[in-house]
């Protein structure tokens, strides 16, 4: 253990006497609580496993948008209600300024360039597993925890904690052969619940944070989590699950972006014919593969044959959105993808990485490919993802890292 529990306590409450330390000499965990069922059950499990738990609501965004009230105060109350029920301390940590700078501004800038960034990935990298982690450590935490569906693999030889030291820590998960020799750092493993696995959003978090992270529900399935929540009367067992980008909520990304990016009308053209089929409010608001929200009213008969049009190309410079009905259109399919800002998890891993699995969207199927350090070569063609999205690389159940699609 990198810090002893008594040090931990001193860091939290410097004035305390040693007699008190005996009472509470258990590992300290700060768990991020959003008010949702996953983080609520995570906190519950940590309490049951004997950790000294403090619940933290990360206040990242509170601004209302036109026609949409930001539900942060209700979420906070839900989280606090659960914390009170579990009898644990609860705090609100305000990251609004940093979230705005590191996640929202980044996202808006990327959209302006014509990319489709993933703010959840950025939020995990910059806020939850950086600022939250750092502040928790400053406060004397042994670990942080979140309600993500993911697991951490550890080696006993690496200096990580053994099961005896760590109440309830998930059982050791066998490493894949590729990593085993070179393993000095924790590994990020896919969740047991394949449907809910959230490693796609976590591939960029630091090894240091991961080493001090517990994913209490990583070994559970969503139905099990819900059942446990109900059993313990956590009222939000029935709460609607938040989807996608948390702060955009039900407003939708386009409406959110319109608050920050001016509308700039332009043409929607059919890629094959070049015909103008309609008009849009700015090419930056559209994403490759998108088929909703295209207001096409061009030549009759061309459009109304019941087949949907997809966005296949964006010309940001000339503000033109190209669409096609042809799902086999060449621009929709690729056999390789260039990545930027590549992160390879675990020290000692060398390129190229052959016979890997790639995930191009949260919950999308894993597809076989090779990776030369810059470009992914797919065994079979894949539907082209939007630039700015992430490609995440796996070996078996281990997340090896990934990069942002250039």
């Amino acid at each position: 253990m990198s810090r002893s529990s008594s040090n931990t306590l001193k860091a939290v409450r410097p004035s305390l006497q040693s007699s008190k330390n005996l009472l509470t000499s258990k590992p300290t965990v700060f768990v991020g609580m959003s008010g949702g069922v996953d983080s609520s059950v995570s906190a519950l499990l940590l309490v049951q496993q004997g950790y000294g738990v403090t619940g933290v609501y990360m206040k990242n965004w509170s601004k209302d948008l036109p026609g949409m009230k930001c539900p942060w105060a209700e979420d906070l109350a839900d989280a606090k209600r659960v914390a009170v029920k579990l009898g644990i301390n609860f705090e609100v940590w305000d990251f609004e300024e940093e979230y705005r700078k590191r996640v929202v501004d980044y996202m808006i800038e990327e959209f302006k360039k014509g990319n489709t960034p993933n703010p959840d990935i950025m939020c995990n990298q910059e806020i939850k597993f950086k600022l939250f982690y750092e502040k928790a450590m400053e406060r004397g935490a042994d670990f942080i925890a979140t309600g993500h569906y993911a697991r951490v693999g550890k080696n006993n030889e690496t200096g990580a904690l053994s099961k005896e030291q760590l109440p309830g820590r998930s059982s050791q998960v066998p490493m894949s052969g590729r990593i085993h020799q070179a393993q000095f750092s924790p590994t990020l493993l896919r969740a047991v619940d394949e449907n809910k696995d959230q490693t796609y959003f976590l591939y960029r978090i630091s090894d240091e944070a991961l080493e001090h992270t517990i994913f209490p529900i990583g070994e559970m399935t969503k139905p099990e989590v819900k059942k446990l929540a109900e059993k313990h009367g956590l009222h939000n067992a029935y709460k609607k699950e938040s989807m996608g980008v948390c702060f955009v909520g039900e407003v939708g990304m386009k409406d959110f972006l319109k608050e920050y990016i001016d509308i700039k009308p332009g043409e929607i053209r059919e890629v094959e014919s070049g015909h103008v089929l309609g008009y849009h409010e700015g090419a930056v608001f559209y994403t490759i593969g998108q088929r909703h929200g295209l207001y096409l009213d061009g030549e009759k008969g061309v459009i109304n044959d019941g087949m949907p049009y997809y966005v296949v190309k964006k010309d940001i410079k000339n503000n033109i959105v190209y669409v096609s009905k042809n799902l086999n259109d060449d621009s929709l399919w690729v056999d390789e993808l260039k990545l930027k800002d590549v992160i390879i998890r675990g020290m000692g891993l060398k390129h190229p990485l052959d016979n890997i699995l790639v995930r191009l969207r949260h919950r999308a199927p894993l597809v076989p490919a090779d990776f030369d350090g810059k470009t992914i070569h797919f065994n079979n063609k894949v539907k082209r993802p939007a630039s700015g999205q992430s490609a995440v690389i796996y070996d078996g159940e281990t997340c090896l890292g990934g990069g942002i699609i250039a």
Binding site: K20, A77, R81, G87
Partner: protein
């Protein structure tokens, strides 16, 4: 359940609901329609308005029915003419504060006991001041403001203005939402020009309110259309709502003195049986309001712990109900952040029994004790 938050909402009483029901199903006609059954509905509506008006010493024609107190407060501020100066008490409800701020209103200070600082009021009234808004009883503390004294000050200023040939109007508006069932209100005696009423706080339906408007006050409509409510609030009349409001007021007036005695007695019981608190609203308060502070305790945690034990109370602490902002009222009376964080508001009402009051005191004591132990365990 022991419900101790009657300042937030009251249940519609059985008698009120019974009075309203026929107007949803049988007597559903549009009061403006030409045929006799509609005329009867129009007549009943007028009678009901008369009952509500009578309860505050006014006539039916003085009342504008609105969809609740917030709308009535907003409508009251339309009395301000171009460039007029507005004063409001700093402890007012947001439905007054927000609209007053939109009119560049200036806040009048309260003293530490929650009462208006009359010297501050006098100092802030200028020749441009057109409207002064002071609630009859505060919604967080129950503090009853000395409106008659305020009205007297206003009278003197008006006389002085007349002497000097200053023609600017000077009106007194009061939000009486919290006080309607616990105080004897007479607009003429109080010297009030505009008075906001609310059915939802007196065991009537939600979404029904009224603004009393003195005959010499000119308002501008917020909603235009068919010209109902003297042209000040267009839209087909909410007949069942107003019938219910009238019934609720009738019952409230009938039991006013009995209820006041009952609540004052329960208040004494609670204050003697509860332990380890500091009483915030010591004087000049509605009989059913008890505002306490448990120092060093997070009252929002108490709210959740009490909810587990089937007891509903409110807090002035920064919480979800207040969008994470601590009470401006408790701040105004000089409470520290820690006191505000530990504040509980208990408001008694018709759903309670004396037995419940004893039970509530016992449970609150227990919960506070357990929470103190928990905090001690962390230390």
């Amino acid at each position: 359940m022991i419900y101790l938050d009657h300042a937030a909402a009251t249940p519609v009483s059985k008698k009120v609901l019974e009075a309203m029901t026929p107007y949803f199903t049988d007597d559903f006609f549009n009061p403006s329609a030409a045929y006799l059954p509609a005329k009867k509905v129009a007549h009943d509506y007028g009678e009901a308005k008369g009952i509500i008006a009578h309860a505050i010493g006014a006539k039916a024609s003085d009342l504008i029915i609105t969809a609740g107190a917030t709308e009535a407060n907003n409508l009251a501020f339309t009395a301000i003419k171009q460039g007029g100066h507005v004063l409001y008490l700093e402890t007012e409800h947001d439905s007054v504060r927000r609209v007053a701020e939109n009119c560049s209103g200036e806040a009048v200070k309260v003293l530490d006991n929650g009462l208006i600082d009359l010297a501050n009021l006098k100092a802030k009234i200028s020749d441009e001041t057109q409207l002064i808004s002071i609630s009859l009883a505060n919604n967080e503390l129950g503090t009853i403001q000395p409106l008659a004294e305020v009205a007297q000050i206003i009278r003197e200023i008006k006389i002085d203005r007349m002497k000097r040939g200053v023609k600017t109007q000077l009106l007194l508006h009061s939000d009486a939402s919290q006080a309607l069932n616990l105080l004897d209100i007479n607009v003429a005696r109080l010297g009030i020009d505009l008075l906001t009423l609310n059915a939802a706080k007196v065991y009537g339906p939600k979404g029904v309110g009224a603004l009393y408007v003195s005959h010499d006050v000119r308002l501008k409509p917020l909603t235009v259309g068919g010209g109902q409510e003297n042209g000040l609030r267009s839209g087909t009349e909410n007949v069942p709502g107003v019938i219910g409001f009238a019934k609720a007021i009738e019952i409230a007036k009938e039991h006013l003195n009995g209820n006041r005695k009952k609540y004052a007695n329960w208040r004494r019981i609670l204050l003697s049986e509860l332990q380890g608190y500091e009483l915030i609203n010591k004087k000049h308060t509605l009989d059913n309001f008890i505002v306490l502070c448990y120092n060093g305790i997070d009252a929002e945690r108490l709210v959740f712990l009490l909810e587990e034990k089937d007891i509903c109370v409110a807090t002035g602490a920064a919480c979800a109900a207040s969008k994470g902002v601590r009470s401006h009222v408790l701040k105004a009376i000089g409470l520290s952040d820690e006191q505000i964080a530990g504040s509980l508001r208990i408001t008694l009402g018709e759903t309670n029994t004396e037995e419940q009051i004893h039970e509530a005191a016992r449970i609150i004591n227990q919960v506070v004790h357990d929470e103190k132990e928990r905090i001690g365990g962390y230390e």
